[in-house]
Symmetry: C2
Subunit: 498 residues, 2 copies
């Protein structure tokens, strides 16, 4: 595993050749573009041409002329050539039994606590509220007290998520300003797109004394400080953007939520928080905010009351939303980050993703490290498929069948679905002219390959007789970071495997 980037230097114009697979605007569809050329402009990182069924010497040259690009100064990356055992004859599109390579859009992780990364996999028998006190708050607090530790944790987290193909992540950091700014810096240096939030929590009834904002004013003021830092290091927010982050309603006073809402509007910032993860939490919110939750407005009503529910809002979990709440969330244009690994691990419940989509709610995927045990969005997509089957088990007939999320749908959620939540709809998540080159090169090993001894191609075995949709299914259910061989953000190579 290695990563390097320069977000400040301009890469050359680039031409990518090979098979491109991406979700289309249709949620249940993948498009397979074989023998295709994608032209990425260096200065903007944007895709400026997509040519299907190319003839390398004729079509490619024509496009270069049309774009006014010098062939000599264009960097060519041929996925087929990169696969040592790949046999490319233009018709078969892949080598029989010798592995496959294809480009896929980078993943968007719409909910991850970078500060909790060292605890991934550790949750015991706990559920949400005791998990926070036992595992989470002590670790988060420690990062503010020890910036060297924070650097180690954030550095490792960002390297790992890049290695898993996460080209954009919406991060929760900690209460600490310096540690949060450090995370911003780490993302920028690594070339990962990120929304970075300083976690606000000022409700003394819920937060431990040793990990709590002094006042609503402090919650807002400290958030201003991280906004300023992020804007100083990346003024246009091309790579890193600050995001207003009230932890969740039970840990915030009304004054803090109102203040943060005002700040978000004033500075045109996105907002992220948690909602309706656990039934105990929902009851607590009803107790703490009787007025805002009344009349069936529920948990969502609390955020709405303080103006925190808008089309730039990411709500993590949404496991137990009522019909009325789902309609409100959809109406406000807020997005839900579905976190299947976490919801199952800490026994929060099984989110009804089909039902949310049917209600017009925007949905993306979140790893929710460390409630979730894995920093991999591919794992989150796999578990989204599996959790939808658990939801289906309680249903009958056609409704049961519809409830299952398909391979295509969970990969859509992992890319385009997430892109919408983080404000990058139409910018990342697919291979279309005008979109930016946030991509991963996926390589799957073939059983005929002789590379086993010196190169670990991962667990997916391609026998050569699989259809392309079978290949993608095998990647989804058997793949891991070994199959993500290269990762680009805005045209920059930010990760490649040795």
């Amino acid at each position: 595993m290695s990563s390097s980037t320069t977000t400040k230097t301009t890469p050359p114009n680039q031409l990518f050749l090979g098979t491109f697979i991406h979700p289309t605007s249709q949620q249940d569809e993948l498009e397979y573009l074989h023998n295709t050329a994608v032209f990425v402009e260096g200065a903007s990182g944007k895709i400026v041409a997509v040519e299907k069924d190319v003839d390398r010497t004729r079509t490619v040259d024509e496009v270069l002329v049309r774009l006014g690009w010098s062939a000599a100064e264009t960097k060519i990356f041929d996925a087929a050539a990169a696969a040592s055992h790949h046999h490319h004859d233009g018709k078969e599109k892949r080598h029989n039994g010798g592995g496959v390579r294809f480009f896929f859009p980078g993943f968007v992780d719409t909910h991850i606590h970078a500060s909790q990364y060292p605890n991934a996999g550790i949750f015991g028998k706990s559920t949400l509220l005791d998990w926070l006190n036992t595992y989470t708050f002590p670790l988060e607090a420690s990062l503010g007290q020890d910036l060297a530790k924070a650097k180690k944790v954030y550095g490792r987290c960002v390297r790992r998520t890049l290695a898993h193909g996460t080209t954009c992540a919406a991060y929760f950091a900690t209460r600490d300003v310096a540690a949060t700014n450090l995370l911003t810096d780490v993302c920028l240096a690594a070339g990962q797109r990120a929304l970075v939030g300083r976690v606000c929590m000022d409700e003394r009834k819920l937060c431990p004394e040793w990990y709590c904002d002094e006042s609503a004013g402090e919650s807002v003021q400290r958030t201003r400080e991280v906004v300023e830092h992020a804007r100083a290091v990346d003024p246009a927010g091309e790579w890193v953007r600050p995001i207003v982050t009230p932890r969740f309603a039970p840990s915030c006073t009304a004054a803090a939520m109102q203040g943060l809402s005002d700040l978000a509007k004033e500075e045109a910032l996105a907002v992220q928080t948690h909602i309706s993860e656990n039934t105990g939490e929902c009851e607590l919110v009803a107790e703490l905010f009787p007025q805002e939750t009344a009349g069936g407005r529920g948990y969502a009503g609390v955020y709405d009351a303080f103006g925190l529910l808008g089309d730039k809002t990411i709500l993590a979990h949404a496991v137990h939303l009522s019909e009325q709440e789902a309609k409100l969330v959809a109406e406000r244009g807020a997005g839900v980050s579905h976190c299947p690994c976490s919801n199952t691990a800490i026994t929060s419940g099984a989110a009804k993703v089909r039902w949310l989509l049917d209600h017009g709610v925007n949905v993306g995927l979140g790893t929710d490290v460390s409630g979730g045990y894995s920093p991999s969005v591919l794992e989150a997509a796999r578990q989204a498929s599996l959790v939808s089957r658990h939801v289906a088990m309680g249903l009958e007939g056609e409704e049961k069948e519809r409830t299952k999320l398909t391979v295509e749908e969970v990969l859509w959620l992992a890319t385009r679905g997430g892109a919408r939540l983080v404000g990058l709809e139409g910018i990342v998540g697919g291979f279309e002219v005008g979109m930016e080159w946030d991509a991963q090169l996926v390589g799957l090993g073939g059983v005929e390959g002789e590379d086993d001894e010196d190169h670990d191609a991962g667990n997916v075995d391609i026998f050569g007789w699989e259809s392309w949709d079978n290949i993608v299914a095998k990647w989804l259910f058997g793949g891991d970071d070994r199959n993500t061989t290269k990762v680009w953000v805005k045209g920059r190579l930010v990760h490649e495997r040795a």
Copy 2:
């Protein structure tokens, strides 16, 4: 990935030094043996001494003398020395931030269809009965028609399962005798313990014409042939044993089940089949066997009526057993292979493992490739934990808490639980004197290590401040075959990572 072995040559006496973690006879307990020496006799592959808190120069020498072993001819394997960045001071027991290594018992996979291995991850939106016809039967049938294909598929399957730490597997092969015998040979050559079953299916109403035994007589006769082959190549059944394998009640006639039952008794063979995977299947069985299922005897009653339900029987799935059936299964001493990946993937249901255990049923884990998407028992253990949480979501209070399987319990199921099902109770699954050395060396990377660039230590990051139970949890939830660095069966090294 590489594997090599000689089941026919005798390894030297061996001494393993390091940390040993293993499930005890208590289902919910792991024992942590630090700074320990385990002495394995070459000829028998048996553990002849376990010495805790050893002093290398004194204790070890004393034990060698006691055993009458020549120090010069004893091969010493020191896990600490094998970990390049491991720092061992006898008290701390592990290096701060530099990764850890420990021995763990090999995994037992109590249910896996080797013939379906190429389809791992491919199941679409299907459920059991259409999945069989669409994906499974055509692939299985093809292996009998093409032994070169069978060799490729079985060879890869056995290499992969060994690489995932599976030291013993109960395999379903296909209907074909030659292909089934090939699987027996492949396991023997690779040094994996295996129970290998020729799949019997003679019910023409359910089986496709092109993949069906001619008669009950053929089912029995062909099974006899694979029994003879297995006994010819491994007379004592030390490594490979034949197992009587009626596919499942709907695909077998009463005559075939009775004939197979008689054969099993006559030859003292184990039996494996499927039970109560899917509600549609349960209804079908009630229709096909009205007499045997009557009076609440249910699906289990069918196998019992034909004498197939005994203490050497492995029943895969058991998702929808009634109380009466669970009691019958427990009474007969039959075991249940819990296959969480498969049950979720093809939406069969969520097996109630705590409830089965409460009823005194023996339970192990099965990957159930390719209903299950992964050949890894570690993944099955992880999913067993997660599925138990889905079962818990439907419950309240203390019952809800009890229903969740702990880290310790799912690792017990993956080792000792499975050992009991395959007739190896007290022989494999733990590190006790008298047990055989079926083990894996687990290595987890440390964030301080400098080995990232040239060695892929997998996804688990050890920061150095974790407790040992946290380390095991991180392995369970984030580990993969990269962390299984060496695998032994009966004292023979059968897999190691390059």
